[in-house]
């Protein structure tokens, strides 16, 4: 193996080691050279990047990500320890007082409760309605593709469009649902849907499910299509009925899809903002009934309107940090716990 290679012709002739054998075969700018095993050797005279070629690939993303993601996240943790309304001078170091306030805040608890309820409702619907639809769609028919495309459609629409679409449906004055109910003679069923604290959150459940049903159906359908047909046929031949086959063969194979659907909707729901802001505004109208964590953090940081001076930036940041720690922790447990169950099954 020659110690010379690459473009270092001048250097090698200077050191008197003779003509480099590899000079023509290894182009300039190559990070190192190969030995007989095909492993790469870093050359001691090469610069930083040539010694670590992976750095070239990672560096652009790493710089952007550090400046606009890691640094702000760290700064958020730092800022959460101070008392600061968001403008003007900092009022002082308060340690963990902001977090004590967050935990004791009625608004935060209310928002956390609403977010949790929203997650539970969507979780139940996804594992009954969406799963059922996926099972129904898991068969070959000329229309299957069409139905699937339609069911997935709301997923690609903006939350703003979705919110406004459903505002039209439920609007008591111009809306579609109330006049329709009245025309059919069901006057008693007409409600002030979004103005009634009992109904407003139910409207949010419905709209949220309308938008995210498609995602769950498609993911469960992909999971079902991974179940080998042979396995189901074998079980049927062995005399198992359809329900047993579903329970003992198909359902366990759906575990990865279940993990993904659950983790994804968990993260998406606890940081949801756009849709619920369109439906309930900055204070979760009516009367805080539709207040969720994403909206609560925004409102604490910036106030209910652009004229508001009641901003509590450091408090809002503490709320955000609390939410982040909660999301990271639960996602970790979900993926670990459910992943282990999947492994145990195989």
């Amino acid at each position: 193996m020659s110690p010379d290679h690459g473009s270092e012709t001048t250097q090698s002739s200077l050191t008197g080691l003779g003509e480099p054998v590899l000079a023509q075969s290894v182009p300039a700018g190559h990070g190192g050279f190969l030995n007989e095993q095909g492993l790469e050797f870093p050359h001691p005279h090469r610069n930083f990047f040539q010694r670590w070629p992976w750095l070239w690939f990672i560096l652009p993303a790493l710089i952007g990500f550090s400046v606009f993601f890691v640094y702000p996240t760290l700064r958020a943790f730092y800022l959460s320890l101070w008392d600061w309304p968001g403008y003007g001078p900092v009022r002082g170091f308060v340690g963990l007082d902001n977090f004590v306030d967050v935990v004791q805040s009625d608004q935060f608890r209310k928002a956390a409760l609403n977010s949790t309820k929203l997650f539970i409702v969507i979780f139940v619907l996804q594992n009954t309605v969406s799963l059922g639809l996926a099972i129904m769609l898991n068969r070959r028919s000329r229309m299957t593709h069409v139905y699937r495309v339609v069911i997935f459609l709301p997923q690609i629409m903006s939350a703003i469009a979705t919110g406004l679409i459903w505002n039209l449906m439920f609007d008591p004055i111009i809306g579609v649902i109330n006049p329709f109910l009245k025309a059919q003679g069901f006057d008693n069923f007409a409600q002030l849907w979004q103005a009634d604290p009992d109904w407003a959150m139910k409207v949010v459940y419905l709209v949220q499910f309308w938008q995210w049903n498609g995602m769950a159906v498609v993911l469960y359908l992909a999971g079902l299509q991974n179940v080998p047909e042979d396995l189901r046929h074998a079980a049927l031949l062995d005399g198992a009925n359809r329900w047993r086959v579903f329970r003992d063969v198909t359902f366990p194979m759906l575990a990865p899809a279940f993990t993904i659907v659950t983790a994804l909707s968990f993260i998406l729901i606890f940081r949801a903002f756009d849709l619920i802001y369109v439906l309930g505004g900055p204070s979760g109208q009516p009367d805080g009934a539709t207040l969720v964590l994403g909206v609560q953090i925004y409102t604490d940081a910036f106030g209910e309107s652009s004229f508001s001076t009641q901003t509590r930036m450091s408090f809002a940041i503490a709320e955000g940090v609390t939410l982040f720690v909660f999301l990271a922790g639960v996602s970790w447990l979900l993926i670990k716990g459910l992943g282990r169950r999947e492994e145990a099954m195989h």
């Binding site: 990500f65 069911i151 039209l168 498609v218 982040f324």
Partner: protein, 294 residues
């Protein structure tokens, strides 16, 4: 060989008819359920499209029927008055640049993380992917403060920067999976032929992961086109607003101009729906790739 008696034969015929009836009944039930679900999905969308052709009076006199005339007056008004011409241009700009930059960064980083063995690559990948669980509501607050200090607040570029960076976690999640499973032999063969690391990446590995890259571009592109929150925090100037911002801003000012609002909504969803109908397979595959690979 046993011969079949008449009784058995008739029994078989009867069970055949029963089976056929069951199958037809099942098909009716199946299509019925599916049509019901499709109605649930499509009726609200249809109502908005119908609404975009109505005058304010028609919303009262005819809340859920067809409009009197298929006149585009709301659309022409929305184009000028609701500022759609500007917000549409801004949305196209931030989505195109955001997708381009974030995909480039994510491809390079994923390749580095998946194909090279160096200390710290597993924690590094975890940090990138961990970006997916950071709530936007949290990270936007320090960024708002930073951009205010740097004088970036309110410009379209602040959005371009954020979308370019915030698109990385998903890209790394999907693409490291795809780059990781490509055979090592390909790389070795190219290396022996004298290709540099970048040439191997650009000429050999990148073309092989094209479907995954398309999936990442679609997922991030739809998010950037639809996103409201980031712009809502960072942008105040009407001339810099994106489509969702423009619609919400217009709705705040002209709360009863329903026809105009719904025309704006229709205009804003048309590009995504057209792209979706043309590429529905890639859209749906993109979502599955994004999650199953994780």
């Amino acid at each position: 060989m046993a011969s079949i008696s008449t009784e058995q034969f008739q029994g078989k015929q009867a069970s055949k008819t029963r089976k056929r009836l069951l199958r037809i009944g099942g098909a009716i039930l199946w299509h019925g359920t599916m049509l019901l679900v499709c109605g649930f999905v499509l009726i609200p969308i249809i109502m908005v499209v119908l609404g975009s052709f109505k005058t304010v009076q028609e919303f009262f006199s005819n809340p859920y029927g067809l409009p009197k005339a298929w006149d585009f007056f709301n659309y022409t008004k929305a184009w000028d008055q609701a500022n759609i011409q500007t917000t549409m241009r801004n949305s196209i700009f931030i989505t195109a640049t955001g997708v381009l930059i974030s995909t480039t960064l994510a491809c390079l980083a994923s390749y580095g993380l998946a194909r090279f063995n160096f200390p710290g690559r597993i924690p590094l990948r975890l940090i990138f992917i961990g970006g997916l669980v950071v709530p936007v509501q949290l990270i936007i607050l320090p960024i708002f403060i930073m951009f205010r200090e740097w004088g970036l607040l309110g410009s379209l570029w602040s959005l371009v920067i954020l979308y370019s960076v915030f698109g990385i976690p998903l890209g790394v999640l999907v693409l490291t999976g795809f780059f990781g499973v490509l055979p090592k032999d390909l790389e070795d063969a190219a290396r022996i032929d004298g290709a540099s690391h970048f040439q191997i990446f650009w000429r050999i590995m990148l073309p092989l992961t094209r479907p995954a890259i398309a999936a990442v571009m679609i997922l991030n592109g739809v998010w950037m086109w639809n996103d409201f929150f980031l712009g809502f925090i960072l942008i105040r100037d009407k001339a810099q607003m994106t489509l969702p911002l423009g619609i919400m801003n217009f709705r705040g000012t002209y709360i009863t101009e329903w026809g105009l609002i719904f025309a704006s909504v229709t205009i804003s969803v048309i590009p995504v729906i057209v792209a979706y109908l043309l590429l529905s397979k890639q859209f749906i595959a993109g979502l599955t790739a994004g999650s199953v690979k994780g």
